[in-house]
Symmetry: C2
């Protein structure tokens, strides 16, 4: 047997010695540094340190191709090219108006030492709050059609003292799981973003940015603390990714902070996306919306036609009146269109996106909504039959435009791997919610919608990778367990769920979580497992430019006191600050209204009560505010009196400190109304 | 958003309720039981219990196809069909002559409830020492060409108190790793066999049997204690598996025992393979062999031509003389053929399998060996260029036959994923050592070799899955870190390595480990990290019908005392019994010579010394034996005097008990010579 030379060299190198001079780059503040080098076999790897301490040990780079030899060894590093940027750009709407985008960039060419001398570039961008890197495949004769079997990218953590929060990949469902909390070395096959907390308080989120025409990245744990990329499979008949050079991969990202709050306040993912490439989006205004929806989740109404059909003209008028009366901009109607009566799950062939049920008078309702200053919000459930949807999409958006609709909620309910997608060959293939064809589909939808001034709020979507910067009409998504699991989940969402989401899924982008439930008894064993005050706080804690007011109209009308906060709370922000928080435990976020002077604060806890001291130093200096406080009553608890809420107000300034008493499963919502 | 019904049903079922009446089968002794059932969505799963306690919780079954919808839900279980077998079959050579094959079988059809009504069978075979199951794809119009993207088979352990021994999959290397020992919930991406020890002493090995025209199964950990299949990728351009129905998968196996020794004594893997389908193999005799080989690993000689060329006529004659003098049947010669002078690694194009180097007089050596009653052992290093090898293979075996050769050592040194394989289209594709095309290649080699009465000892092979029962001329393999790592490895093999191998890799089948080194100082930092007595013991502990005597001739000639054991030890066995052992700690094995009355015992330990009491009740009752003992001297230690060995003898019977004192990194070898 004959490993000899080869094995001994590699083992030698894995002990830390490399041939090539490593190419290095650091973040603007110098705290984060990256080195890339090759070993004696020409295998490239990168490593990351922070504050001079190793964070990632040498971690592999490269590709397995299915139509050509892998790109993984026999490579040499070219002279690195450096550049930097420091700009501030403006979001059309968002968690903050101005975003600073400051990074140091290093581009390194990896070229094969032997024939056919193929070359790929690796580009690193280092920010003060993390880094991104991507591969770029230039045009070259030796590698034109690129079929990727696997990306070999690793994240080989140098330290073993981390706790991880993650959800599994490639299960029957898509993204709708409760979060696991395990030691890093017990992570299984995980989706991104995944969040790690090290013993010294360093927090890291691994994710990706700008997932365009590529398959979504999952992670698998090779051994110990070494994670590696595990790309979503291609649709039937395709490799995981199939592209023609030149092209580049999404950014592989590490958001890094000294604490959990720093992750939540990072704009790294957005910064790594391209600027708006669509144009004017002023026709969309962030809004709250009511809807014909929660009734179905409670099984009081149905999506399908019949005696309990929810989307009747009469019921929609009721909701338009409710929205108009309370200042909500939209009314969502699900179950308005033909196709819900058969076995649509995983099928979706029967859905029409232009033909309403007979008891839904679309033109009449559009006109009525307009007369009330309210927009209808369209709904296109595809059951992940994207191909069928695409065949009607343009006509559907034409109709929506005619009806004055500026926002459509799409849905992709189906098994993981059960999506019907249009492949590169124009034919229909079974595929995955996060595969390359799905990535292409979603952008098709968003760009077609844009042509009609329509924004997209995608449910059961491909994961968010910050593409809202480039395609701002992709306003929100779901892509996690939403509130509806508290309507019927077995189990529902536990009290820690939202404190997990803030530091995991929500790091990817906005979520249409649909908070604001007052009717706490549902088909879920624990019902809605929060207090009322926490329901209110979620409007601040969970960012989305489109926020639902989902509960039954009757429940809001019967409780005008707490309902006032839902009416008052803003949905677009000048600035956001995460004031405190621990993953899965609690979090407090303050946001300043955009186009107004008010601040809002939301604070939530898991199943444990908390006393949190919150200095109000975020408020504008020298200004007086009336703090309109919605807090848990002294006997409030998710296990007991969920509806126990105290509404009170005080005058405060930025010099004050508030003590927030959060009940078990509770929260607190505050409007700081500027005087 | 709309999961509703579907989610709640699934969650309900995952709590343990299934619709279909489960189909059940138990092992002959009733201790192991399997149930298969479907949930309300028609997702099939199986569960395993032992002694009435759950071992596997519901574990999924099914397939993702790349050219058709997945087979995973919407299935119903047909009426189970039961059968049983109890036979005893004879090995041509092996660890034991007679093997009892006794199982209860259950066959269950899984049929789609809806169009296109595709059907697969799952067949379970339950033994007293474990179980195997496989999928069978019958001929059917709705599913003829089957392209498998992934097998969904899970091993979802119901208990979390297991320690696991495993090596990683899909790394740069193939199978040559040191074993990880971790809690079950820290297992990463692992090869099989993987060994688990539960707190109550139950041991489980997950592996596969009869890997034919399919890709090798690895395991990935979904979460917690739930492992799932992760098939080796297909060659470039191919799915993981591509077959035409009817066909069946390899058996997925769980070997189960009350202790580690029970795993080592199991014949489950062999029993799940088909009987000899080749015919007479009496032309091969189990043997020990010397060789021109270790000199190269010590860098005293070279494979390549030149001043230090090892495979010279003169040097081979020296080894033939050595073998003849000491009763060894064969002489391996590596580096005899043209092709070693260039950069052959991962290439292999330059290898000729028929053209010797000029200083290697093949006909003369063949004649000389024959005159001495010794066989030459051929050597075909392919550097995993299987396609190139296949183009010369028949001519090569013709030449070997002409030269009186009955055994060829093949080699596949190359990166994982760097094999050049002949695909189903007859063209050359890059692929994996354990992919489908590699599985096909190895059987091509074995069957072509058989036609010339040649046996194959494959190094860097596809993993062993018991195919030696069906193809007995596939006599041995490597497929793990062999002794050569102690020549140059950085690090070499640590003292625990062989105690890991016995209960992991060796559960798959024989290994050509090449024990018997006396020259302990090498290029590895710790040299050969055992005592001499342990080197001797390895001839008994590690089963192979072809065992090397690898060290320099001078080292044996200088130490005739301990060398005597190597001359005496048998290589074919009537019976084998693992007397004690713990994974990675120690093990003692007794074997009775086949075709003789002697027993042999080997006992080894890791870095810790051991005192082991061994009752000799395995010896034939009423018979007297001279125990020829080769034990560690009182000052022996792998860290100190490795060569300290005591050779002594006593008369014993089966009523005696021996106390074995094993030094740190030590061992003991005993021949019980029947009087």
């Amino acid at each position: 047997m004959l490993i000899r030379l080869f094995a001994s060299i590699l083992l030698f190198c894995s002990a830390g010695v490399a041939v090539a001079q490593p190419a290095k780059v650091a973040s603007p503040d110098g705290r984060i540094a990256v080195e890339i080098s090759t070993d004696n076999d020409g295998r490239p790897s990168y490593r990351v340190s922070r504050n001079g301490k190793p964070l990632l040990a040498p971690s592999r780079l490269g590709f397995i191709l299915t139509n050509a030899p892998k790109i993984e060894r026999g490579l040499q590093i070219g002279e690195p090219q450096f550049s930097k940027l420091d700009e501030t750009w403006e979001q059309p709407w968002g968690e903050r108006r101005h975003v600073r985008n400051r990074y140091n960039q290093m581009r390194v060419a990896l070229t094969e030492k032997n024939k056919p001398f193929r070359k790929i570039d690796v580009v690193f961008r280092l920010y003060d709050d993390g880094l991104g890197f991507r591969y770029e495949f230039p045009q070259q004769d030796a590698l034109t059609e690129v079929k990727i079997g696997e990306e070999l990218t690793e994240f080989n953590f140098a330290r073993d003292d981390a706790t991880a929060w993650w959800i599994p990949s490639f299960e029957w469902n898509r993204e709708e799981y409760l979060y696991h909390r395990t030691p890093l070395r017990e992570v299984g096959d995980a989706q991104t973003p995944i969040t790690l907390r090290f013993a010294d308080g360093t927090h890291v989120s691994i994710h990706e940015a700008a997932l365009v025409d590529y398959s979504g990245m999952n992670l698998t744990r090779v051994e110990g603390t070494r994670l590696k990329a595990d790309l979503t499979p291609g649709s039937e008949g395709f490799a995981k990714v199939e592209r023609t050079a030149p092209f580049h991969t999404p950014w592989r990202t590490l958001t890094i902070g000294d604490n959990a709050a720093a992750l939540a306040d990072s704009s790294l993912i957005l910064n790594l996306n391209e600027p708006n490439k669509l144009g004017d989006v002023s026709w969309f205004k962030p809004m709250k919306y009511a809807g014909v929806w929660w009734e179905m989740h409670l099984d009081l109404k149905t999506w399908a036609s019949g005696a309990r059909h929810g989307a009747t003209t009469e019921n929609v008028i009721k909701h338009i009146d409710f929205a108009a009366k309370n200042g909500f901009g939209g009314v969502l109607v699900e179950g308005w269109n033909v196709g819900w009566d058969g076995d649509w799950f995983g099928n979706g062939e029967d859905f029409s996106f232009t033909q309403p049920y007979p008891d839904f008078d679309f033109p009449k309702l559009a006109a009525y909504a307009k007369s009330k200053g309210v927009q209808l919000i369209g709904h296109h459930e595809t059951s992940a039959n994207a191909a069928h949807y695409e065949s009607q999409m343009e006509a559907a958006f034409d109709l929506d435009k005619e009806m004055g609709i500026h926002a459509v909620k799409t849905g992709y309910v189906a098994d993981a791997g059960g999506a019907k997608l249009v492949g590169r060959d124009g034919k229909v293939h079974l595929g995955w919610h996060e595969g390359q064809d799905s990535a292409r589909h979603h952008l098709k939808v968003v760009t077609e919608a844009y042509k009609r001034q329509i924004a997209i709020n995608a449910h059961e979507p491909i994961k968010d990778t910050g593409l809202r910067r480039t395609y701002p009409n992709w306003i929100s998504r779901e892509g996690a367990r939403g509130m509806e699991f508290s309507a019927w989940g077995q189990p529902g969402n536990p009290p820690e769920h939202e404190t997990n989401l803030v530091f995991t899924r929500l790091l990817a982008g906005p979520m249409d979580y649909t908070p604001g439930i007052f009717g706490m008894k549902t088909r879920a064993p624990d019902g809605v497992a929060t207090t009322w005050a926490k329901q209110l706080a979620l409007y601040v804690v969970i960012y989305s430019p489109i926020q639902m007011v989902p509960d039954l109209v009757e429940n809001y009308e019967a409780n005008p006191g707490p309902f006032q906060f839902i009416k008052d709370v803003a949905v677009d922000w000048e600035e956001s600050k995460t004031l405190n928080g621990e993953v899965g435990d609690y979090v407090t976020i303050a946001r300043k209204q955009r186009g107004g002077d008010d601040w809002f604060l939301g604070s939530i806890t898991d199943e444990n009560p908390r006393d949190l001291k919150v200095p109000l130093s975020f408020l504008d200096k020298g200004r007086k505010y009336v703090a309109q406080i919605y807090r848990d009553g002294p006997d409030a608890s998710w296990k007991g009196k969920r509806e126990s809420i105290v509404v009170e107000q005080h005058e405060v300034t930025s010099n004050d400190t508030l003590e927030l008493k959060l009940a078990p499963g509770g929260g607190q919502a505050i409007r700081f109304a500027a005087k």
